[in-house]
């Protein structure tokens, strides 16, 4: 638990993301039709999903931990990770919609990737609704931990597996080459990998801050 109180990794995260504003916007990118310069969204839209994934994985880890130990802190950590993950989820959806408007023609064209991302979003909203609907603390923690563990693999399948098996317009799906195979040349990796790593740690940072506030709130409520 000491890790979340240290500063060095937060500085590294900020520096990594800062570097992508230069490398991502100035360095050369492949010239592709329709996509044009929006290929640079790879450094800003995709890392949102990476950040979301990171905090959701941590959330599942703490849900499992809670079921093992029954400590309340683990439950609080799981909730705050989901809260932070939903922020990055929303940002990923909105930036994706904007990109879709100028490449596919519509903000929302019912593409399999968009639809299943919306379903998975509701899946995680249901997690928060479920939590708020149970008053008894231990029961709430246990049920929501189990729900969280099941929601995670379903989210993974909905967002990262199913759209790839059908005809989705999204890069990396249904016969569309992912940037990784043909287009992600070494020049793009210079900006892409730092962006992924940096945003992951920033997501983690936000989650730890929310967790720490939650801990203080919890302690106060216990005294009163």
């Amino acid at each position: 638990m000491k890790f979340i109180y240290q500063t060095w990794w937060k500085v590294i995260a900020v520096l990594l993301v800062l570097s992508t504003f230069y490398t991502g916007l100035v360095f050369k990118a492949p010239r592709l039709p329709i996509i044009h310069e929006t290929i640079r969204n790879l450094y800003f839209h995709v890392p949102m999903w990476m950040g979301m994934l990171t905090v959701f994985v941590v959330s599942v880890y703490f849900s499992i931990k809670y079921l093992q130990t029954g400590k309340e802190e683990h439950d609080l950590a799981a909730v705050e990770c989901v809260n932070t993950g939903l922020l990055f989820y929303t940002l990923g959806l909105l930036t994706g919609m904007l990109w879709a408007k100028y490449t596919w023609g519509e903000f929302w064209s019912g593409d399999p990737k968009q639809n299943s991302a919306a379903i998975a979003f509701l899946l995680y909203c249901a997690y928060l609704v479920l939590r708020n609907s149970i008053d008894e603390e231990q029961k709430r923690a246990k049920i929501s931990a189990i729900y969280n563990i099941f929601a995670f693999p379903i989210m993974i399948v909905l967002i990262f597996v199913l759209p790839r098996m059908t005809d989705s317009l999204h890069p990396g799906s249904g016969g569309n080459p992912a940037f990784g195979k043909y287009d992600l040349d070494n020049g793009m990796k210079v900006a892409f990998y730092p962006a992924m790593l940096g945003w992951s740690f920033i997501a983690l940072w936000i989650a730890t801050i929310r967790y720490r506030i939650r801990l203080v709130e919890n302690k106060k409520n216990a005294i009163n």
């Binding site: 969204n41 800003f44 801050i209």
Partner: protein
């Protein structure tokens, strides 16, 4: 009078349709210009705005905790 206005309306419809020809169809030009780079700019703005709003909510929550003392 009704007939006349109907005819006029139909004629105007025709001209409206003809007006489409010979023009560029692509719209929302501001964001499509310069190789669509402003889509990337808007993306970064959305991300920053989202983070800022989130920061404000965290700030308000922390204030509540501080004021309870």
């Amino acid at each position: 009078m009704k007939k006349l206005s109907l005819v006029l309306l139909l004629v105007l419809c025709c001209t409206a349709v003809f007006a489409q020809q010979g023009q560029q169809v692509e719209m929302a030009d501001a964001l499509r210009s310069s190789g669509k780079i402003y889509v990337v700019v808007a993306t970064i703005s959305i991300i920053f705005t989202g983070l800022a709003i989130f920061l404000f909510t965290i700030d308000r929550r922390l204030k509540k905790v501080e004021n309870q003392k």
